[in-house]
Amino acid sequence: MDENITAVKDAPVAEPKSHPVTININGQQHQLLVQPWVTLLDALREKLDLTGTKKGCDHGQCGACTVLVNGKRINSCLTLAVMQNGKEITTIEGIANGEMHPMQQAFIKYDAFQCGYCTPGQICSAIGMLQEGHATNREEVKELMSGNICRCGAYSNIVEAIMDVKEGGQYE
């Protein structure tokens, strides 16, 4: 896909002017020309072909679009691509490093998903949560993972997978 989000000329109805931004996505610098009305989520999915990040509601109400920005988990549907200038973004496509991330392996091991649509968001969220360091037990994991809805109902397996990674000493 074309990485340049080009400005549209001669707009009959006032159109947003494109802005140049530099974003590091999964370790790669991207110079984009982006219209302000493009959310980070839509930029990833529609302009950069990074479709691993999912659109489940587009309103910050489901967590399927969770990505890590400068290491913190956020809802990519509720921020604009133009606001990410200079940021480092990790999407599900950038989680694995050669082999699958322990969280990805644990999700498979514990069958922590069914349809798979909320899964990239769950995994990014879980990794972000463990980095935040505020979840010390199952109850806290459940509360701090409540921003990721799973309609298939894989919650208990998701918690198992996260606890396994957490107690496997992958994070301190």
Binding site: V13, H19, T39, H59, R73, L78, L80, M83, S125, G128
Partner: protein
């Protein structure tokens, strides 16, 4: 979402000037509520002024008077987990962590939290009349589905509630809000910031167009010994409050010496009733006294078809939460 221009403001003065120059401009910080509303076509700003790059507004610093200053651009999560907030203002930490989701708290800012708009179904739905969205069209919630609506301080034009959790704690703590604008800086008492709908429900607060919140100051007293936050909602997490109660107490020799009770989910603003707090002074922290205080707080409460239960629910929640704050639960 409509078409708009985008400018990243380098400093607060530029932001205020850009905002003042365009009455259809809006500031964007975390964006968690504004972009949501823009996608619903409820907010249609002609210009967005991004204030995230302004230096110096995201700090959390101690004040000379022993209080704490929370930068307007400090994120909700960073505020809640800040060691000084955790130690001295655990009520605030708990309130913040009761709201939204971890992701949203990582994005949302303290200033933005105050500026969030109601979750009224009709406000969000442009196909229905709503005085807050389009003054003069009527209030659909009155006579409609009003489970999440106000039981206190509502008017014939609007029965919406203010959805924040953080603000309930800030109201209870008697925070103050520092604002800058074209006419200079000013300080607003937290309880004066949000307003009741009256016949101008389109106005959520008293901030003037062109003004910008720079920080929130917490006074020295954080009620860190006797506090409690209780949020009742339709699911265990990631839902707005039907009723939320922030309580801070100071106890001495078995008597209440100072009391703060702020209620969320009940009105167009965090609801405090000084008379109820005064009533508790020098009283014993027992159920009966908290019930009496709750009656004062809820005096004049009015329910509608779907939310009348909130009157009794709120009373029980106030009592439970005050007993918890006094460490007398169970």
């Amino acid at each position: 979402m409509n078409s708009f221009t985008y400018t990243a403001a380098p400093d607060a003065n530029t932001a205020a000037a850009l905002l003042t120059a365009d009455k259809h401009a809006q500031l964007i910080a975390g964006g968690t509520n504004l972009l949501d509303l823009m996608k619903e076509n409820v907010a249609q700003p002609a210009a967005l002024i991004d204030i995230n790059n302004i230096d110096g507004l995201d700090g959390i610093t101690t004040l000379d008077n022993g209080g704490l200053r929370l930068g307007a651009l400090a994120h909700n999560a960073d505020t809640a987990y800040h060691p000084l907030v955790e130690q001295k203002y655990p009520l605030l930490a708990k309130a913040i962590l009761s709201g939204a989701s971890a992701q949203l708290r990582n994005m949302a800012t303290n200033g933005g939290n105050m500026m969030q708009r109601t979750r009224c179904y009709y406000f969000y739905d442009t196909s229905t009349p709503c005085n807050k969205r389009e003054p003069g069209t009527g209030c659909s919630a009155i006579g409609g589905y009003n489970r999440i609506h106000a039981i206190l301080g509502a008017s014939d034009s609007c029965i919406a509630t203010f959805p924040s959790d953080m603000c309930n704690a800030l109201a209870a703590l008697d925070a103050t809000i520092n604002v800058t604008g074209p006419e200079g800086d000013r300080v607003i008492a937290f309880t004066d910031f949000h307003r009741l709908p009256g016949d101008e429900p389109q106005l959520d607060n008293i901030l003037k167009h062109g003004e910008l919140i720079t920080s929130i100051d917490l006074p020295k007293n954080g009620f860190e010994k006797n506090y409690a936050y209780l949020k009742l909602r339709d699911r265990t997490s990631y839902a707005f409050a039907l009723v939320a109660i922030a309580t801070g107490l100071e106890l001495q020799d078995g008597l209440i010496k100072n009391a703060r009770i702020a209620c969320g989910g009940l009105a167009h603003k965090p609801w405090r009733k000084p008379e109820a707090e005064d009533y508790l002074i020098d009283k014993v922290p027992i159920k009966e006294n908290f019930e009496a205080a709750a009656d004062i707080i809820l005096n004049g409460a009015m329910g509608y078809k779907d939310n009348a239960f909130k009157i009794e629910l709120a009373k029980r929640a106030i009592v439970r939460n005050c007993l918890t704050a006094a460490n007398l639960n169970n």
